[in-house]
Amino acid sequence: MDGVTVEGGVSPAMSRRDLTIAMVGAGGDGIVTMGDILSQAGARDGLNVIKTEAYGPQIRGGESSCVVRLSPDAIYEQGDAVDVLVVFSWADFGRFKGEVLPAPGAVVLFDEADPVARTKEDLGLGASARWIAVPFAKIAGDAGAKGSKNVVGLGVLTSLLGLRQETIRRAVEKRFGRKKAAVGELALKAFEAGLAHGATLGKLEGRGIAFAPGPAKLIMSGNEAAALGALHAGCRFFAGYPITPSTEILQFAEEWLPKMGGTVVQTEDELAAIGAVVGASFAGVKSMTATSGPGLSLMTEMLGLASMAEIPCVIVDVQRGGPSTGLPTKSEQSDLWQAVFAGHGDAPRVVIAASDVEDCFHTTVEAFNISEEFQIPVVVLTDQSIGQRRETLDPARLVHPVRGRAVPTAEELADYKRYRDTPEGHSPMSVPGMKGGIYQTNGLEHDESGRPASMHLVHEKMNAKRHRKLAPIAEKFQRARRLGPAKADLGIVCWGSSKGAVKEALALAEARGEKVAAFIPEMISPFPVKALESFLASVGSVLVIEVSFAAQFAKYLRTITTLPEDTIVFKRSGGKNLSISEVDDQIRRFFSPDRKQVPA
C-alpha cells in the first residue's frame, strides 16, 4: 500500500448501466428499511451497491431520505442523479431541497394521498419528468398490511424496473419474518400487492439494469469497516463516547471485542475516552477511540500527551459539519486543520485519510501500523458520507499486513532508557510486566530516562528526537492515489471522500476526450510532498476540490508546496456530499473556451 497507487478509472465506454433510486418520507414511513432491502438484495445478487441515508436532526420522526445506487459495474459515489424517486411526503422532500436531485427525465412515484400537492415547477424537475401517482397506503391497507406502504413501494419498484423479484422477496421475508413469522407473511402480502399494482403501470423502458447475478458481496458501512480494521490490527481496548456520526464504531467494538478477549469502556466524555486509550496503550495493549469533530476538540490535550510521552494510539474522526454542534448528521471536510494542527506546543502526530468504505478498513490498520512503529498518535479522518454509507465489498480485499506491538529485547533492557535518543527517533517501549523495563514517564519534558527536565538543551534535544520520526514516516508512507492519464491538461487535487465523485467525473471527462488526472493523498500529515510535486509537474492547471467553506485543504497545501498561481479552488460548505455532477461541471468549465470569464 506504500507509495503512489495508480488506480484504474471508470471505463469511459461504460454505458450508464446503473440505477439510482431515492426514497423520501417521514420517520415511520420505513424509508430506511426500503433502502436496506434494496441494497441487501443487490449485494446478494453480486451487484455493486452504495446506499446513503440522510436525516433531519430529530431523534424519532422527522424527515429521512435514502438513496440506493446499483450497478453491475464498479461505482464510487452515491448517484447524484436520481433515476427513480419515491416520495411519501412532499413536505419532507422539501427539507432535502438541493440534496436529493432527480436526473432529467426521472420517474417520480408519489402517494396521491399526500395532502401537500407539489408541481414539477416546485421541484425543478422540468417537463421531462414522468409522474406516477401510486396509492401506496391504500394498497397496503387493502392487502391487510396497514402501515406497510414501504413494502408496497418495493413491490411497485420491482415490477416497474424489472428487478429480480425472487431476491427482493426473500430479503423482505428475512427482514420482517426474523422476529415473527406472521409479520413476515403480512409483509409478503404487501409486497405481492405492490408487484401487482406495478404490473398495471407497465415496464419503464430503459430504466432497469440488465445483469447476471454473481456471488454475493459483503455490504458494510465505513464505520463498520474502520472498526473491523481496528480488530484486524489487533486493537483489544476501545474507549469511546457516543457522538454522531461515529457511534457505530463504539457499538461495533462493544459487540465484538469481548468475543475476541478485548474490552470496551463507554466513558463519561471524550477526555476520558482518549485518556483510557493512552493508559491502555501505555499498559501494552493496542487501543483506539472514535469520535467526531467536537469530540476531537476535547481530545486535543491528550494528543499532546501521547505525542510527548510517545505512546501509540489511534483516533478515528468521522467528520461532520461544524463548527460547534454544526450539522451532526451531515458530512464536511472541515476537521483537517484541527487534526493536523490542534494543540499547544510542538506536538508531532500523523493524520491519514480514508476515501471510501473499504479504505476505512485499510486506513485504520495502517494507522495502527504507523502508530505502533513510531510511537506516535495517529488520527484517521473519515467523514459522515463514507462512515455511514453502506457499500458492497469483495471479502477477499479485506486483508492488510499488521505490525505487532514491539517490546524491548533483553539487550535493549540492559541499561534501559525509555526515551533513548535514536537515529529513528523512536526508542524501545517496555510495558508493565517487564522486569527490567520499569520507567516513570510524564507529560513534562523529560530526559532519555523519562525524568522531568525543564532545561532548554534537553527540550531542544527531545523535541528533535520526537520530530525526527516524521521524516521516515513521510519517506516510508508517501501514500497517495493517482488517477487518470500520466500527463493531463487539468490536475485535480482532493482528499478523503471526494475521491468517489472525482473518480467518476474523470471517466466522463475521458469520454469527452479531455485529459484530466487526479491526486488524492492518503497521508495528510506528514504530507506526501514529493508525490504531489511530481503530480503537479505532470499537469497543466490545478483544480483543488474540497468540502470546506474556508478551503482548509487548499490553504494547507500552500503551506506545503507552491501551487500554480492560476490554481482553481472549488470549495463549499458541507451538508450534502460532493457530487459527480459538481466535479463534472468544474471540469467542463475548465475546458470551455470562455473559462477565464467564469472564475469558479
Binding site: L228, K259, G261, T263, T267, P432, M434, Q440
Partner: protein, 293 residues
Amino acid sequence: MSAAPPTLPAFVPNDYKTDLKPVWCPGCGDFGVLTALYRAMAELQLRPEYTAVVSGIGCSSRLPGYVETYGFNTVHGRALPLATGVAVSRPDVKVIAVGGDGDGLAIGGNHFMHAARRNLDVTYLLMDNEIYGLTKGQVAPTTPTGDRTKTTHYGNPEPSVDPCELAISFGATWVGRAFSGDLKGTVELVAKALRHRGFAFLNVMSPCVTWRGDEQFKTLKAKARPIPAGHDASSRIEAFRYTRETEVLSTGVLYEVKTPSLNDRLDAIKKSARGDAPASTVADIVKTFLPSF
C-alpha cells in the same frame, strides 16, 4: 494482584524508592503519604513490574516519579481516565492513582464520579491540602468557606466539598480518611485500600506548609482521631456521620462493601459473550456482513 510467592525475595520499603528527589517543600504532608505508600507496598509485597502508579498534575501528582514501578504523571485532572485504561486492559497490573484535591475534585471531578460508580479496580489516594500548591496558593474545592487565598482576597465565598462524602455518594466500595501526620495510621489505611478489590478511595489530609502555614498542620493534628470503635462501615448512613465534621477529623475506614469490581463484570461479559465458542476472529465477523437469504 496477589502477594508474591514466598520463594521470591521479600521487598522492603526502600525497594520501591527511585533515586529521583521529590520536588516538595520541606515539611510537605506528601512526604508522609509517599513513605506510607512505600511501607504499604512492602507490606503487600507488590511486584514493582506489575504495579502502575498514575497521576494528573499538581504537587502530589509528582509522586509516580518517586516510586519504582511503572509510572505515569499525565495531564491535569486525567489520572483516573488513564488509570481506567491500564486497569481494564491489564487486570494483572495493580493500579494506584494519586493526586491532589484540585486535580481530582475540580478539573477531574467528573472522572472521580465515574471511576467510583464503575467500581474500577484502582486504589485512589487523594492528597488533600485544601489549596492549589503548585500554582502557589489559590482556592480549591476543599478550601474551607471564608479562608483567604491568592484568589479569595475577601475570603472564600464558596462552600467546600467533603471528598469522602462524594466518594460514598458516587458508589466507591471502600472509602477511608487518613492524616499524613499520623504515619502509622496512614500506612495501615493505604495497605487496607490496596487490599480492597474494586474502587478504594483514601482521602489523606496532607498539609501544605507553604500556602496554608503551620496552622493547617496544627489544626489537623488537634482534630484527628480514629473513628470510634464499633462504627458500622457497611452502612452509608453511618458513614455519613463522619463526613463534613467540623470539630474533629475522624480517620479510618468510613465505608466498605464487597461488590463485583469492574474487571469482575467485564470478565463475566467476556465469558458470556463467547459462551463455549472459541475466540471470534475477524473472518467470523466478516461473514456477518454477507447477505444470507
